[in-house]
Symmetry: D2
């Protein structure tokens, strides 16, 4: 079965394992005529690189992207864009022993059950490095969205018990703090918390959030291809995400209709909403308010404490994981979330162009 392709019109296919020769992505269906350079993509990839702070693994990964096709004279041609990132820093020696047992919280056992065996080096296809292709494609989607006046911004909402203060939202901090939090104070507290967690040979979870601004109303679909349904899929497909919320999310289950309904109002002659409990999506389609999505991320499963598990011979054993691992997944996953949201939003916008007969006739000039 094929599961590495995502999207209908803007369609991406990722490939590559943690310790293979390279990783990459093919973007098929990117509209022609978008100016695009490797630098546009590298900016996004750099946001997921490790080794950039003391709360991230000291592994050095260069992750330099190369455009192999689909761009001619600095402009997309409409044909598939193939992007590659060569693996350079992988030390397979670290991973030899994990071939024989199943690490708790990892996909080792499920891989063996599905495929009969696995490329155990560094998690193989289930490594966080798999997201390189997503982010490289996301950079392109985001660039096109920006030209349409749409911005996609993801950030860390909380790390363990430390929550960013959204009233002090500081967009610049997302890129400047090692936590990707939009709040420098919370970020400093979170760093302390993470250092303590590392000293305890443990890891922790967190929450990431993404906001889409400038979205026109009416994008998405009322049934299975609801915009929120596709956002959920795209975000839940990021490793370690265990819950997705739209707008008020889980709080709606404790809410009353009189509280949760957003009253419509007029704003600059445009239909608007007085509140945004809905998170910018009504009936599966964007309502013109900012789209708000949240993802809950589990703690890094690779911890340095002794753990109990079983090996391939069916024996119960104790293991001690080695290697270089982040104490938390969230700060580097934020750009992955931003990428998956950008790809999903763009695809919905492209699909929506054929929603109305009058606009089709106008497009083809035959009214």
């Amino acid at each position: 079965m094929a599961g590495s392709t995502y999207g209908t019109i803007f369609k991406i296919t990722t490939w590559g394992e943690s310790h293979g020769k390279a990783l990459g992505v093919v973007i098929d269906g990117c509209p022609a005529g978008l100016s695009l350079s490797e630098a546009d993509i590298q900016i996004y990839l750099n946001r997921r690189k490790p080794g950039q702070s003391n709360i991230s693994t000291p592994r050095k990964e260069d992750d330099a992207v190369e455009i192999l096709s689909g761009v001619f004279k600095g402009v997309t041609t409409g044909t598939p864009i193939s992007l590659i990132v060569h693996n350079t820093s992988q030390r397979s020696g670290d991973y030899g022993d994990i071939a024989t047992y199943y690490r708790p919280g990892h996909a080792d056992y499920t891989f063996d059950e599905k495929y009969g065996f696995r490329d155990y080096r560094g998690g193989g296809r289930s490594s966080g490095r798999e997201t390189i292709g997503r982010v490289a494609a996301g950079a392109i989607a985001a660039k096109l969205l920006l030209q349409m006046g749409i911005t996609v911004t993801a950030y860390t909402r909380s790390i363990g018990p430390i929550e960013a203060d959204m009233n002090a939202f500081d967009k610049a901090a997302i890129l400047s703090t090692p936590t990707a939090m939009p709040d420098k104070n919370a970020s400093a507290l979170a760093e302390d918390y993470l250092k303590q967690t590392m000293q305890e040979l443990d890891s922790c979870g967190g929450v990431m959030e993404c906001i889409v601004e400038g979205m026109p109303a009416g994008i998405g679909d009322p049934v299975f291809e609801k915009l929120d349904a596709n956002l959920s899929k795209s975000i839940m497909s990021i490793g370690a995400v265990k819950a997705v919320e739209i707008g008020d999310g889980i709080m709606v289950s404790k809410s009353k209709g009189s509280e949760n309904n957003d009253a419509f109002c007029m704003n600059n002659n445009t239909v608007s909403k007085k509140t945004n409990h809905a998170g910018g999506i009504l009936g599966g389609m964007s309502d013109g308010s900012p789209i708000l999505v949240r993802a809950h991320v589990k703690p890094t499963p690779s911890i340095f404490r002794s753990q109990e598990t079983v090996n391939k011979n069916g024996e119960e054993i104790s293991i001690q994981i080695k290697g270089r691992h982040d104490p938390i997944i969230v700060p580097r996953a934020v750009v992955v979330m931003e990428s998956m949201v950008a790809i999903t939003i763009l695809d919905a916008l492209l699909l929506n162009m054929s929603a109305r007969t009058d606009r089709i006739l106008e497009f083809y000039d035959r009214v």
Copy 2:
């Protein structure tokens, strides 16, 4: 754009509006040789029928299903199964005035923005009646899963502040209580809460949960088609769902790796897990433990209090919604969740048959 088809091998296409002539579904890709009668499907449809208790709208909907194709001599033929439910009880008169304004919390505005106009009668395609097709298809998926030893069970976990006691889980209560709670005491409390809510001309939200038992390990995919990603999409595509959780869900973000990792152990010579924080899915593939999914459902947007909104002329107005509406969506949506999960699980199982070369060769007898 086309958004009413779901699934890859077991593929369903639903159609119909609240007040049209009929609603239905075409199930394409249902394996041949499954015994199937209208009664098999009717049992599921009856679980979403309104008018069955005093906490549900008094609308009477017969929702009698008819098999139009794909079944011969009581057995599926492998060709498309077309199911139809005729609309009989619809009173369009109730809905005339909503043509001119946008109900808060509903898809009226987003429909107009997407398509230019809408079938406003009873919510049109965004009505809860749209789920008839999903449930009819889900009944078939569940029947086939049962033959494979797999059960899918959804129920109401909470209604407003009233939570079912999972230590007193009573499966029979799901079908016998008007709330679909697996706990009769909690259900009685919830009924009281709902009556009070109705007296306040208000509505409330709740949580539904689904458990899949008997699932073999290794089903799903490690990247975009993760089993949890597809479950999220399928569940978030149910109207009014605003959050989806897998296993421990949102709690993982406050958890430590040492707490959240499930230790593997041996159980009857089979690899098993001592705990199930993961909710039965690791790295996007089933791990052999029960799969656990939760959905948070917003309060019914149709409330009888006066609400502020705008009309199609861009004037701010006050409205008073009429008609017959449930004070909560959850009890009737439980079977919709069960259906979407069954369809998703079955499709993943069918796709998984081609995962391994040795099993393909064995299937085609050429080892």
Copy 3:
């Protein structure tokens, strides 16, 4: 596996068997705002009805179509359009004995091999009646195309040895002759030929052709989704078609480059071609010239002569087919070809709206 859905944006799903309760189609992704009535569709369905001449089976099939959803106040809503045709004239008694053996040239044996058994009544899902759904959907596609200035016209090119004279092309004759030939003289000769064929208890093949006029240039795709590739699939998916040609078709293999290349020229300030050997498609994309496709159709396999075959017990037997069968498939299949071409062309046009960045920005008004 699911094989009854066709198209990406304008997506149709057909269902129904020859002797089931009904047949139909769900059209998902039809743009909103197209005026549509049952009469629009019935006109197309009437062209495939039998019993309209002495060269067609005397079976009477009413084939009255009913719109069940997706149209509100005479206009498409953008949601799925469900169409149904009830079976009224089926006499299952005629088909009882074919349950036990495999008719030469039919799908009886392959159905049994794939599914383990079959609905043998009237060919079941492999009956020509399966095309009702295609034609009903094709009528809608053709109506939208016409508003874009695009016409799709299919006709009978030859019946056995009798060929229509294309220099005497008479469009009105397509609908007025029983053969669907655009040449009344040839049609009269073909009728004689068919009567003789029937007297010999035999059947014969023929050729149908389809021309698309008004097509803008640049529609289609350069690799797998070539416009000619999709036309081939759509036409070859019509039962009994055994060859598909584009433009000069098979003649190109005997041609020289200097003969086959179409010189470009200017015509009314537009790029045009002096000849059209290419049949309106270059590199998988429309070139602005008329698109020309041909299909070769095998003789009706149901003939009244004694034939040799085997039964389900593996015994070699002689059989005598009964029932009511056309001596040739082509005249009634012409409208099926026209429908499949219309659906394919429309889908390509809708997909093409997102080919260029500048047009997307213009569409969303943000240049």
Copy 4:
């Protein structure tokens, strides 16, 4: 729009232009556990390399394939297989002038119309080099098919007027003759014909044929996903193919039912057919006889004679094409046809595993 992905379960995505850095393919959904080396793939790629005879362009293309992912310890892992071929011999200087005008028979004009501009170097994405990805993927499909006892063999049936004598079919000759004909005598005649054609600064067309042996019965689908429909699409998607025939192909239109029907018979206790006019497919599903497909290929459009055309300024001009071009496409396209057929057949086999309930239950061991 995305058009470089083909297949449902065994899904390939090709990328790359004639004069870009590299070309390649990602194969997603290849079953795990297939032993695979670069040599397995190189054998196929070598069959499409130019410069191997005096009837092929003297361009030297190394076309050495590299496996970048999806294979671990010589065995496929079930995750995407990424294959790359670096471009080494491309001389872009040859192509500078074609940027300004439209070559007859090429996709220059249609590319400009679709995308607004094009990568004109060597045909860009419409170059024959695009087929590298198809052939690399086809090699893998063919290897798996062979383990299932299924062989796919394509060859040149005719070149201009010179036809291979099928009664003297010599399989070894396909790989040893420069024409890929299974008949050395015809091949020698064809070489003479091609030399003469080249002297006349012209090119010519031809016919290629493909036979699939060992195919089980019942593979394919009765409606849109007919095996012959998908074969047609896959073959018509090869550049320069203008007609596709199944079995007797175009001859069926002149045939009688009594001639064209293949009588069933018993052969070694298996249902078989006395003749094979159907080409191994009945009702869209394989019937157990060899599958026979033919493709008619137009003459190479790049000829060295002076030709008339227009330029981008809308001026009518005369042009003289330079560069290195084969006088015929067929001999090097034969392996492309073989590849597309292998991919299509394999995908149908994998999809077919879920056709029957009893076989699914047996697969999952729960009868």
